[in-house]
């Protein structure tokens, strides 16, 4: 549907670390979030500790090798033999290799284990959340949190942690080495670092706003593409191709303009940084040479060491700012994941909750009030008694609260006020699993799974006997088309049933409900999209299976309604009328009026 598309932010992905500072999102509670992340690393901590230690050692080579290289140069210049010092250097490089290799190798497994663990924790929490959560959130957004985000976030956090650690040690180590070699030259380098710091701050202040603007322009453009392509039939029907292209062009140009601006501004950073780097390099080169010539420095190799150090010293400073930004964004991302973990799950069963093995199906709805939000009641004071085995039709205009009533029966939502009793006991006093098992449900949306037809019909029951599955399909009238599928009951619905027609999908969901063989039935406009001949078949089977079972049927069709024992007419969240077809007809109220309108010209 065009109006409620996927939010464009999902198309672009939320965490895209990039050059020169993208949009940085600040975490609300850095410490707390990190502590919670640490909680989730349980079982992998020894490995993580190893990785952290290794990354600290990883800076060893960067600190020591310039010193050794410089020494070597001095020795060459003095024509001293350098065999031993080169062996030291080789050993150092080998150690460096070993450390880097084992760090990355370890991290590859540990990182993924942690990610898997977080994803699993998240999903097992999500599956317990009440329906209200899923109704409140965009599915596209939830999905990316369950899959990609966890991955991106953990990878970014772990890699920036190790890098921050390595760089931190590098900076300290290099600084000590530099001071011990020459305090004067160190001072010159510090001056360069200060300049870089200042520059980064000024540029990112500007670019941050520009990148946010670009993100917005991208969102607008993606939104337009989304709705105009998925609604192309309507665009064509109304000959709006040219207008759409013009609109697109405008948004496209706007994005292009702001993107160029953002990139050019952020692009100043690197070259300017390079200039400062080079400035430091040259200053040190000249300065140290002069010092050497004047005799303040004893060894020529010291110049080499220092020139190598200055590169090692400034780069981490530049990178750290970047890494820290990415780190912040990732932690903020983790906070969004934790928000989901903080959602209240469906209430636990009460400690003294009753088992519900084989309910009779007596319902009593007592003064039920309900609203999805506290301000707006959808159901206002509903009361009705339904004896076991009654076939109930719920009738009324769209938006009157019919589906909501069904949501309350299955405890997808809990009543705001009042109570619903099943066999004389409040629904909330039963074990949730038992209660849901008592219902066979066919819902408005025909949700099927990418599995075999057989698995779909026997959904929720693994290893069901084929005979029972076929039997259920036969009763639902789905047997015919299933046997025509390429592999019959073993045909895999690759696209979750989208390859079937709407009617066929509906027949499968009915077969699924029949298979569940539950004592209470709920059918929410179950036959709305099935053709009338098939519907007739389904009606027969519904009549058949709803024999002696309490069943709730939301239907528009008169024939289905008339077959019911009790008709409840709902309007504006209230029961306006209730009774059998004949009673309501003779009363001449809302129901009779609706019936007559539908019969129309008769």
């Amino acid at each position: 549907m065009a109006v409620r598309g996927i939010p464009p932010s999902n198309l672009s992905g939320i965490t895209r670390p990039g050059r020169g500072g993208m949009v940085v999102v600040k975490p609300k509670n850095m410490k707390g979030t990190l502590a919670r992340l640490w909680e989730l690393t349980k079982g992998n901590r020894r490995g993580l500790f190893m990785v952290l230690v290794l990354s600290a050692f990883g800076s060893g080579a960067s600190i020591l090798s310039p010193y050794i290289t410089g020494k070597t140069v001095t020795m060459v210049s003095h024509s001293e033999p350098i065999t031993w010092i080169l062996i030291y250097l080789s050993v150092l490089y080998l150690c460096d290799w070993l450390i880097k290799f084992s760090q990355a190798f370890l991290m590859a497994a540990i990182g993924q284990r942690v990610i898997h663990h977080i994803r699993r924790t998240l999903f097992s929490h999500v599956k317990k959340l009440p329906l209200s959560f899923f109704d409140r959130h965009q599915h596209g957004e939830l999905m990316s949190r369950l899959t990609n985000d966890v991955d991106n976030i953990s990878t970014t956090i772990s890699s920036s942690m190790t890098m921050l650690l390595t760089y931190g040690f590098t900076i300290v180590g290099v600084f000590i080495a530099m001071v011990s070699l020459s305090p004067v030259l160190t001072l010159v380098s510090l001056f360069g670092v200060g300049l870089i710091f200042l520059l980064t701050r000024t540029v990112t202040k500007r670019t941050r706003k520009l990148f946010a603007e670009r993100q917005k322009a991208l969102g607008i453009l993606n939104g337009h593409v989304e709705e105009s392509i998925s609604g192309l039939l309507v665009v064509k029907a109304f000959c709006r191709e040219e207008q759409m292209e013009r609109e697109f062009e405008e948004k496209n140009d706007a994005l292009c303009r702001v993107a160029i601006k953002a990139l050019i501004w952020s692009g100043f950073l690197m070259p300017l940084m390079n200039v400062i780097n080079n400035l430091c390099y040259v200053t040190i080169a000249v300065f140290s040479s002069v010092l050497y010539v004047k005799g303040y420095i004893g060894e020529i190799g010291l110049i080499t060491s220092f020139l190598l150090y200055i590169r090692q010293f400034t780069r981490p400073f530049v990178e750290i700012a970047n890494i820290y930004n990415n780190f912040q964004t990732a932690v903020a991302g983790a906070e969004r994941v934790f928000e989901i973990l903080d959602e209240e799950p469906e209430p636990e069963d009460r400690p003294d909750a009753n088992d519900l093995a084989d309910p009779r199906g007596d319902f009593e709805i007592k003064n039920v009030r309900f609203g999805y939000t506290p301000e707006k009641l959808v159901l206002k004071d509903i009361s009705v008694k339904i004896p076991a085995g009654t076939r109930v039709a719920i009738v009324g205009p769209t938006g009157s609260g019919k589906t909501t009533l069904v949501n309350l029966l299955t405890r997808f939502y809990d009543v705001t006020d009042g109570s619903i009793l099943l066999d004389g006991v409040d629904l909330r006093d039963y074990k949730m699993r038992d209660l849901r098992r008592a219902f066979g449900v066919v819902l408005q949306d025909t949700a099927l799974f990418a599995a075999t037809v057989r698995e779909n019909i026997a959904y929720g029951h693994e290893d069901a006997a084929l005979e029972r599955v076929v039997e259920a399909a036969r009763i639902a009238g789905a047997d015919g088309f299933i046997s025509r599928l390429p592999k019959g009951y073993d045909t895999v619905l690759e696209q979750g049933g989208m390859e079937l027609s709407q009617g066929e999908r509906q027949l499968l969901t009915i077969a699924r409900a029949i298979f569940a063989n539950a004592p209470i039935l709920i059918l929410d406009e179950a036959t709305s999209s099935v053709d009338t001949l098939t519907e007739q078949k389904i009606r027969q089977s519904i009549l058949h299976i709803s024999e002696n079972r309490t069943s709730f049927i939301i239907a528009h069709r008169l024939a289905t309604i008339r077959d019911s024992d009790l008709i409840i007419f709902v309007e504006n969240g209230e029961i306006v009328e209730q009774g059998s077809h004949d009673e309501l007809m003779s009363r001449g109220g809302k129901y009779a009026q609706m019936y007559k309108t539908q019969i129309g010209a008769l």
Partner: protein, 595 residues
């Protein structure tokens, strides 16, 4: 449209070079700027390369002879070079930002333009969701690639080659070491590509699988809960997540093995370099220092090449997907010499048959019906019987496979497309509205319609009442915004709004495809009554599942399995058409039949 969707065409693999063609084609348009930025990039690389050489001059010529003015002189030159390098970097950045973003804009524009020209048959085949990701994600990939191409790709080889040449030039005895190292590094890189990329492919596939599981769970959460199947779904997710994690580990381990090895190779190069120069005369010590420095530059360049290859692989895949859309030709031909008849709304199907592309079975078979201008035709029949397909032929959403479809005596394929579609208004099963105000949405019907016409259309569609009440924050009624951040309408309200939009157009032919299904009986009756009394008397084709909706039509077309079962008034069909009688009995009930 019907539930039967033809599957998307399998992608035929092409040679890498050919796939790059798309990117090259767009780059060629900006060739001047591209070359200019390469020039600046080269200058930038040269500037980086020259620094250590001048450093060696300082050491060899200044330090050894204790000549401070020489030292300062070379220092000044080095600063000058650094400045040139910085200016070059800024320039190539300006050019690369501009070019990459402009190419992105052009690609998006061209894809979008082409998609707008395509027939619905093409769109069915490509699938809308897939087209959308091509315009958004795939273009971004290419944009990023062009950017990195202009920023690094050329710089890395120049730096590499330059560094090698300079090392060999300044210290010729090092040549074998350098060549050896380059050899080993190339072997290592090709190793990563050969062993690593298939594994990254596996990661992508498993990520898709995990996404599919999550999407399915979210879409079916009600069913999952109703059937107590949470554990089952969690297990599915667990398996998918675990297999993704192990694929990732395997891929990352390839990198963990090779990357440090490349590092080690270059480092050993430095050791070898020093070893070979162990007997260097002191006055050439500067050159030795420069060589060491160049080795680190080579290492840096190699890492960059690695990144670019990574980007290139992704960009090539994206280019291929984009090319597919760009190469798609409209399935329907535009008339060479379009006719512009005065359309009154008389429609005639002559031996019409139709099959969806790629579908074996015909969706319509040998349809012969005549519809007079101004008539109201009810169309009824089981799902999949071809009702929607039939009406979709009228505004030429699809073309007949056999036979002819005439409007006012002209074959629709010969009529000017715009004229045809302006005369025919369609209200689809699924109401589709667009971001914008209610008024803007209604204006789709006609840009020139005045306020009165809009209100009148809304009134007939029974949409006036809720439009008045719609809106928030300063935009109420007809100004209320729909879509992101705007009001969300119920299914029935959307249906009425899309009906009003069609009525604004005052069409000659009005097609209503089961578009009152979400309305309650009372509102539906009111809407139908309004349609009956339209002053401009269009031909109305009214598809419905409910027999009570079509019963009042002038004539009823009863369809089943792509063929006409009966065509006539309610009474005639009750007398002659078995299918119609069966539908009637199922909806109104057996005993009402006689009355």
């Amino acid at each position: 449209m019907t539930g039967h969707r033809p599957l998307s065409r399998p992608v035929t693999p092409k040679k890498e070079g050919q796939r790059m063609k798309l990117i090259l084609r767009y780059l060629r348009r900006h060739l001047g700027v591209f070359l200019l930025s390469l020039l600046f990039l080269t200058m930038e690389a040269m500037a980086d390369l020259l620094q250590p050489t001048f450093m060696s001059f300082i050491v060899d010529k200044g330090v050894t002879s204790a000549d401070i003015s020489t030292i300062l002189g070379y220092g000044a030159i080095m600063l000058g070079i650094a400045a040139v390098g910085a200016v070059s970097a800024i320039m190539r950045n300006v050019f690369s930002s501009r070019t990459s973003q402009t190419i992105g804009r052009e690609l998006r524009r061209d894809i979008y333009h082409n998609v707008q020209q395509l027939s619905l048959e093409n769109i069915d085949r490509l699938q809308p969701a897939s087209i959308i990701t091509r315009i958004t994600n795939d273009v971004t990939q290419i944009q990023d690639f062009v950017m990195s191409l202009m920023r690094m790709m050329v710089k890395a080889p120049i730096t590499c080659v330059g560094a090698i040449i300079l090392i060999i030039f300044q210290t010729p005895q090092q040549a074998p070491v350098i060549i050896g190292i380059i050899g080993v590094v190339s072997v290592l890189i090709s190793g990563v590509i050969r062993i690593g990329y298939p594994r990254f492919g596996a990661v992508q596939r498993r990520l898709d699988r995990l996404n599919a599981v999550a999407r399915e769970f979210l879409a079916s959460v009600r069913v999952v809960k109703a059937f107590n199947a949470e554990e089952q779904e969690a297990e599915k997710f667990d398996v998918a997540s675990h297999s993704l994690a192990s694929a990732n580990t395997a891929a990352l381990r390839v990198m963990a093995t090779f990357m440090p090895l490349i590092n080690l190779t270059v480092n050993f190069g430095i050791v070898l370099l020093l070893w070979i120069s162990r007997n260097q005369e002191p006055e050439r010590i500067g050159r030795l220092m420069a060589s060491v420095n160049y080795m680190t530059q080579i290492l840096f360049a190699v890492t960059m090449i690695f990144n670019v290859i990574n980007n290139a692989v992704r960009a090539i895949a994206s280019a291929q997907r984009i090319e597919e859309v760009l190469n798609e030709k409209p399935a329907q031909a535009k008339p060479v010499r379009p006719l512009t008849p005065e359309i009154t709304g008389a429609i005639c199907f002559e031996n019409v048959s139709f099959a969806y592309a790629g579908a074996g079975k015909e969706a319509l078979r040998d349809i012969n019906i005549q519809i007079r201008a101004g008539e109201t035709i009810g169309i009824i029949g089981p799902t999949g019987s071809g009702k929607t397909t039939l009406v979709n032929l009228i505004p030429r959403f699809y073309d007949v496979t056999e036979g002819r479809l005439l409007i006012d005596g002209c074959d629709v394929r010969d009529i000017d497309e715009k004229l045809l579609r302006t005369a025919v208004a369609v209200v689809t099963q699924k109401p589709l509205l667009f971001t914008g105000s209610i008024r803007e949405n209604l204006r789709w019907g006609s840009d020139t319609a005045d306020e009165m016409a809009l209100r009148e259309a809304a009134r007939i569609a029974c949409a006036d009442a809720f439009i008045e009440k719609a809106g928030s924050e300063g935009a109420y009624g007809y100004e209320a915004m729909l879509g992101q951040g705007g009001v969300n309408l119920s299914g029935g309200q959307k249906q009425r709004l899309s009906l009003a939009r069609a009525l604004v157009r005052k069409p000659k032919v009005l097609i209503l495809d089961d578009c009152t299904s979400a309305l309650d009986a009372e509102t539906e009756a009111k809407v139908l009554n309004g349609l009956h009394h339209l002053p401009y008397k269009p031909t109305v084709l009214l598809i419905s599942q409910r027999i009570s909706t079509v019963m009042r039509a002038d004539r009823i077309l009863c369809m089943a399995d792509g063929t006409v079962q009966g065509y006539g008034s309610h009474e005639e069909l009750m007398a002659s058409c078995e299918t119609y009688r069966a539908i009637y009995a199922s909806q109104i009930g057996g005993e009402a039949c006689g009355s």
